[in-house]
C-alpha cells in the first residue's frame, strides 16, 4: 500500500465542495520589475505549445502556498501514523509550469515538521499537478523525502496493542478541545485523523482551496475481527479561502504495517 516516492493517478470520483463565492485566482507576479514583491525574478515566459519552462514564484505567493499545503496533506496520509504527524513548516522554493491542455504543475521545495515534535524537521520536494480538464479529478502528487522520518514503530505498536486490548470501544469528542488541549492518550488518535484527513484533503483540493484539519468532533472505534483497527471519525475541516468550516465523516482503517486507509468518506451538511 505504501511505497517510496509515489506517483498517484486519479482515484475514484470524489465529492466536490459546494460552489464557493466570487473567488478569482489571484494573478501571478508580472514579468519585469513592476511588482515590488518579486524583485529580480526572471520574467514569466509567454505561453506556447507544450509545457512552458518552469517559472520561479515567490514562496509566499498564495498559489504555491496552496500547492504546498496539498503536498503536505498527501504526505501526511502516505507517511503519517498514530506516532507521526507530518505538517508543513515552510515553503522554501516554488516553480510553476503551465502545460497546455493539461494543467498547472508546481515544483516545490519545503520543510516538514511533526505536529507533536516541532523540532523534528525534514526537507522535501514535491510535484503537484492540478488538472485543467477534469475538475473533479484529484491533483497528481509525487514527493521525495530527503533523509529519514523518525522511526515510530514503537509508538505505533504501543497504540495498536492498547486499542486492541480495550474491553470497550474507544469513544472521544472534541480533540483538541476549545483551548487547544489534546490529552496525551488522545495524541495518537489525533495523529491518525491528521493522516486520514490528508487523504480527504488531497481528494478535494483545487488551486482555489486550502484545507486544514481543524478539529475532531467525534471519534468512535469500530471493533473488527481481523487485524485492522477501524475508527469512525467526524471531523471539521477549515477551508482557508472561503473560510468555511466543513463537517466531514471518514471511516479509517489502520495497521502498523499497512498504513492508513480511508475506506469511506463523505461531506456532512453544515448546520446554520
Amino acid at each position: 500500500m505504501l511505497g517510496g516516492a509515489t506517483v498517484v493517478r486519479r482515484r475514484r470520483r470524489r465529492r466536490r465542495a459546494a460552489p464557493g463565492p466570487l473567488l478569482p485566482t489571484p494573478p501571478l507576479p508580472a514579468a519585469g520589475g513592476d511588482s515590488p514583491a518579486v524583485p529580480g525574478r526572471p520574467p514569466r515566459p509567454s505561453m506556447s505549445q507544450g509545457p512552458s519552462p518552469a517559472a520561479e514564484l515567490p514562496p509566499s505567493h498564495c498559489l504555491p502556498g496552496r500547492a504546498a499545503a496539498l503536498a503536505a496533506a498527501f504526505i501526511a496520509w502516505r507517511r503519517g501514523s498514530p506516532g507521526r504527524g507530518p505538517a508543513l513548516r515552510a515553503l522554501s522554493r516554488a516553480r510553476r509550469q503551465d502545460i497546455d491542455d493539461v494543467g498547472h504543475k508546481y515544483h516545490l521545495e519545503f520543510v516538514l515538521e511533526d505536529i507533536f515534535e516541532k523540532d523534528s524537521t525534514v526537507n522535501c520536494t514535491a510535484e503537484v499537478l492540478y488538472h485543467l480538464g477534469n475538475k473533479n479529478a484529484a491533483p497528481d502528487v509525487q514527493f521525495t523525502i530527503e533523509g529519514e522520518l523518525k522511526n515510530t514503530d514503537e509508538a505505533d505498536n504501543l497504540f495498536y496493542n492498547r486499542i486492541k486490548s480495550l474491553k470497550n470501544e474507544l469513544v472521544a469528542e472534541n480533540v483538541p478541545d476549545s483551548y487547544g488541549n489534546v490529552p496525551p492518550e488522545m495524541e495518537p488518535i489525533r495523529a491518525l485523523a491528521w493522516a486520514a484527513s490528508g487523504y480527504v484533503i488531497w481528494q478535494n483540493s483545487t488551486e482555489n482551496t486550502k484545507y486544514q484539519l481543524a478539529q475532531i468532533k467525534h471519534v468512535k472505534q469500530v471493533k473488527r475481527s481481523d487485524e485492522y483497527l477501524e475508527f469512525d471519525y467526524k471531523i471539521l475541516l477549515h477551508e482557508n479561502v472561503s473560510q468555511e468550516i466543513i463537517p466531514w465523516q471518514m471511516t479509517v482503517l489502520w495497521h502498523p504495517q499497512h498504513g492508513t486507509e480511508v475506506t469511506q468518506n463523505s461531506r456532512q451538511p453544515q448546520h446554520v
Partner: protein, 490 residues
C-alpha cells in the same frame, strides 16, 4: 440525603479524578492546568466548564436536566454492563472512582448528561438493573450551592495573560487596567454591538502638552481567533509594565497615543465561548432570524462586495447587506474617520497563518507607499523571527493570501492612514484556531517585537530626532515671525 454534601463530594472527586489521569478517554485534563492553577480555581473552573461532558455540552456551562442515578448492581453481569456503559457513554462516575471498582452489592452513583438520560435508563431496564434517581436536575443543585459559578474567577492582582479569557473577564480587566494605571490609561465607549453589548477601547496616552499622533490596533474582529484578543491584552500589559524602563517605548509615548480595542466582535467572541467554538462572524440576524452573522472584515467600505465575498448569509464571508451595515463596523469606521488625520498606523490582529499583510485584498494594484510598507513589514517579520524562530510571510493580501474586499485594513489605507497592516498570528495550521494556551506567551512575545518595530519606525519617521514634526502651519508662522523680527531689528 445531603444533596449539597454530595455536590461537594463530587467536586472533590472531580479533582482527585483529574489528578489521577488514568487511561480513561472520557477525561480531558491537561497537565499544565494542574501545574499552573490553584486548586480552588481549578475545581470551580472544571466544574463550571463541565469538561467531563464533552460533545455538544462541552461548551455549555449548564448541567440542565442532568441526573444522578443510584444503582446497586446485584450480579457480575450487571457490573460488566455498567462498566461498559460508563466507558462508552461518557458517563460521569461519582462513586466509585473508577469503572474497575464497580462491584456487586456496592453503591454506584453516576451523573448522566441530559441527552443520554433516556437511553441510559432504557439500557438499565433492558438489563434488569434497578436504579433510583438521586438528583433530578444537577443544575438546580449547582445553582443553589454555587450561585455565581465564575465569581471566583475574579481578576486579582495577577491577571493571567497566558490563558484565554471569556468576555466577562476581559471587561473586568479593562476596568481594572484603567483603575490601576489611571495616569496613562483611559477606557472609552466606542459603540454597541448588534446584541447591544458595549465595545470599549483603551487609550494609552502620556500626559503632555504636545499634540500627539495615533496608533490604532484592534483585535478580535473574528470570533474564533482567540489568540488575537489575548495579544491585545498582552500588548497593553507590556506597555504599562515597561514604559518607564524601556527607552523605545518611552520615546514613542512622547509622540504617539496608543488606542487598543481588545475585542471588536464582542457578540461573536461570546458565542464562540458558549455555543460554537469555530464561529467567525458577528451575530446579526438575517432572513427573519433563520441565518446569522456578517463577516465584519468584509463589511467595510473598501470596494465593498466586489471580490472574495458571498452575498449569502450562510457563508462565512457574507459581506452584509451593504457597506457598514453592521453596528460594529460603523462604530469603528466612524471613530477612525473622525480621527484619521491624526492616525499614522492602523493594525488589525487575526489568526492563523503567520503573515504580515499589506494592502490590498481587493486589487493587485499596489498602494502608493508599497515599497516603504513592505520594507517596514519585513523589518517587523525579521524582529519577530529573532525571538523564537517563527517565520512569517510578508506581502499583500491579494498576492499571498486571497482576494477580499471590504476589509478594515484596506479601508483604513484608502482613507489615508499610511501604515496599515493585518497580522495573522500563529500557527501554520497544526492547531489552527485552537492554539494551545502554552503558545500564548511565545506568540505574544514575538508579535510584540514586530508591532513595536512598526511603531518605532513610524515614530522615528514623523518625529525625527525627538523633535515635534513641524506642521505647515507652524512653519509659516515661524517664518513670518522671523521676518518680522528681522525687520524690527534692522
Amino acid at each position: 440525603m445531603n444533596m449539597k454534601l454530595m455536590i461537594e463530594q463530587g467536586q472533590v472527586w472531580l479533582y482527585n479524578r483529574i489528578v489521577q489521569m488514568k487511561h480513561s478517554v472520557q477525561i480531558y485534563p491537561h497537565p499544565s492546568w494542574i501545574i499552573c492553577t490553584k486548586m480552588w480555581l481549578f475545581l470551580g473552573m472544571t466544574f463550571s466548564l463541565g469538561i467531563l461532558i464533552p460533545g455538544k455540552l462541552s461548551l455549555n456551562l449548564q448541567y440542565d436536566g442532568d441526573q444522578v442515578l443510584h444503582i446497586v448492581p446485584e450480579t457480575f453481569q450487571q457490573v460488566q454492563h455498567l462498566q461498559h456503559l460508563c466507558s462508552t457513554s461518557m458517563l460521569d462516575l461519582w462513586k466509585p472512582q473508577l469503572p474497575e471498582d464497580i462491584q456487586a452489592g456496592e453503591d454506584l452513583h453516576i451523573r448522566v448528561p441530559a441527552p443520554l438520560v433516556q437511553e441510559v435508563k432504557d439500557s438499565l431496564d433492558q438489563h434488569m438493573i434497578s436504579y433510583k434517581v438521586l438528583i433530578h436536575d444537577v443544575q438546580e443543585l449547582v445553582d443553589e450551592s454555587m450561585p455565581k459559578q465564575r465569581s471566583h474567577r475574579q481578576i486579582p492582582e495577577g491577571y493571567n495573560y497566558t490563558e484565554y479569557h471569556p468576555m466577562e473577564e476581559i471587561y473586568k480587566w479593562m476596568t481594572q487596567i484603567q483603575e490601576s494605571n489611571s495616569e496613562l490609561v483611559t477606557q472609552h465607549h466606542l459603540g454597541k454591538t448588534i446584541e447591544n453589548r458595549t465595545i470599549y477601547y483603551l487609550q494609552i496616552s502620556q500626559p503632555s502638552n504636545k499634540p500627539k499622533k495615533i496608533i490604532w490596533m484592534d483585535c478580535g474582529i473574528h470570533a474564533r481567533e482567540w489568540i488575537s484578543p489575548a495579544f491585545c491584552q498582552w500588548f497593553v500589559k507590556e506597555i504599562l509594565q515597561n514604559y518607564k524602563s524601556d527607552a523605545m517605548i518611552r520615546r514613542f509615548l512622547q509622540n504617539l497615543d496608543l488606542y487598543i480595542l481588545p475585542v471588536l466582535n464582542v457578540d461573536g467572541y461570546i458565542y464562540s465561548w458558549e455555543a460554537e467554538r469555530l464561529w467567525r462572524k458577528n451575530r446579526s440576524p438575517y432572513m427573519n432570524g433563520t441565518c446569522y452573522g456578517t463577516d465584519l472584515n468584509r463589511n467595510f467600505n473598501s470596494s465593498w462586495g466586489s471580490v472574495g465575498v458571498s452575498y449569502n448569509c450562510t457563508s462565512e464571508i457574507f459581506c452584509g447587506s451593504g457597506p457598514e451595515s453592521e453596528p460594529e463596523t460603523r462604530a469603528v469606521a466612524q471613530f477612525i474617520e473622525k480621527k484619521k488625520t491624526d492616525i499614522l498606523c492602523y493594525l488589525t490582529i487575526h489568526s492563523y497563518g503567520q503573515y504580515i499583510l499589506t494592502p490590498y485584498g481587493s486589487t493587485t494594484t499596489p498602494p502608493s507607499n508599497n515599497e516603504e510598507l513592505m520594507h517596514v513589514a519585513q523589518k517587523a517579520a525579521a524582529a519577530l523571527m529573532g525571538k523564537h524562530g517563527t517565520s512569517y510571510k510578508v506581502g499583500s493580501t491579494s498576492s499571498i493570501l486571497y482576494s477580499n474586499s471590504g476589509s478594515s485594513r484596506d479601508w483604513a489605507h484608502m482613507i489615508g492612514i499610511p501604515f496599515s497592516y493585518t497580522f495573522e498570528l500563529r500557527d501554520n495550521g497544526t492547531h489552527a484556531f485552537t492554539l494551545p494556551s502554552d503558545q500564548i506567551q511565545p506568540t505574544c512575545e514575538e508579535t510584540m517585537l514586530a508591532v513595536t518595530t512598526i511603531i518605532d519606525y513610524v515614530d522615528q519617521k514623523y518625529f525625527p530626532g525627538g523633535a515635534v514634526m513641524l506642521t505647515s502651519g507652524s512653519l509659516s508662522l515661524s517664518l513670518c515671525l522671523s521676518v518680522v523680527f528681522t525687520w524690527i531689528a534692522s
